[in-house]
């Protein structure tokens, strides 16, 4: 593929959709976490690609896109720490991380 904006958008759409498929079809809680990471990375790649290729305007700084990606990475780190703590807690409670075993969480 050529080095251009649409190629980056195609790559990040593929990342997003594979991540979404992972989230939808995995039964393993950690597998679902990996899917979420793929989705977040697709979004971050989009931000950086737009900040590189778009026409700069007077009022906005194009580096803002990279700042957003930094915040995405920070939020992803927080999310993974809490999610893995929950997974370990579930595992020590019922010796399983299969999300089908936690139907009672549906309320």
């Amino acid at each position: 593929m050529q080095y251009s904006l649409p190629s980056f958008l195609i790559v990040s759409s593929l990342l997003f959709c594979l991540g979404m498929y992972t989230v939808l079809t995995r039964r393993n809680a950690i597998g679902i976490l990996m899917g979420i990471e793929l989705v977040l990375n697709g979004a971050g790649l989009n931000f950086v690609a737009f900040s590189r290729f778009l026409e700069p305007s007077q009022t906005t700084n194009l580096l803002s896109g990279q700042i957003f990606t930094l915040f995405i990475i920070a939020v992803a780190a927080a999310e993974v720490a809490v999610a893995l703590a929950i997974v370990l807690s579930l595992y020590s409670r019922s010796k399983s991380i299969d999300v089908e075993d936690f139907k009672q969480l549906q309320g």
């Binding site: 593929m1 958008l9 593929l14 991540g19 990996m34 580096l63 990606t69 927080a78 010796k95 399983s96």
Partner: protein, 166 residues
């Protein structure tokens, strides 16, 4: 030359991604995720975002991925479960994902983006990012640090309670 490197990084990103989604072995999926994250770091560098690329390697590969592999190792005892759901649900997921992928690809390729006519030379970004973080984006920056602190304390609390078995 640049196009060749670009395509290598795209393949490095996308191909392991299919393993993450489809592999029946969670350890293989975790290590494929490692290669994918590395490919994305390469794409960031190719986009002129050197700082983000380095942060990607440090935080994602050095931190998040190690945590995920820890999680995999600590929860692998006992019987091996099927990793994915069965066929009707899988088909539903595939159809839904396919529709969204088609819509995304159409909008990505058909839209006329206001692309800059001449791409500027990539410059070192860390100084400018530091200025923005301590200037225009100071409040989001501080909120993010409080969020990280709260998340880490919460994670310790949740995991600790489960170790003590309450």
């Amino acid at each position: 030359m640049k196009d060749i490197i670009f395509n290598v990084f795209i393949l490095l990103t996308i191909i392991p991604c299919f393993w993450v989604a489809l592999s029946s072995n969670i350890v293989h999926a975790a290590f494929s995720l490692l290669i994918t994250l590395f490919g994305i770091a390469g794409l960031y560098v190719l986009l002129g975002a050197d700082f983000i690329g380095v942060i990607q390697v440090i935080v994602y590969i050095g931190g998040i991925l190690v945590l995920i592999i820890f999680g995999v190792m600590m929860t692998q005892r006992g019987k091996l479960l099927p990793l994915s759901i069965q066929l009707p649900g899988k088909l539903f997921g595939a159809v839904l994902t396919g529709v969204i992928l088609a819509a995304l690809l159409l909008s990505a390729t058909r839209t006329l983006w206001p692309v800059a006519a001449v791409l500027g030379e990539p410059q070192l970004t860390s100084a400018a990012i530091g200025d923005l973080l301590l200037g225009k984006y100071l409040i989001p920056f501080e909120i993010a640090s409080v969020l990280l602190l709260a998340a880490l304390i919460g994670a310790v609390l949740i995991a600790r309670r489960s170790v003590r078995g309450e």
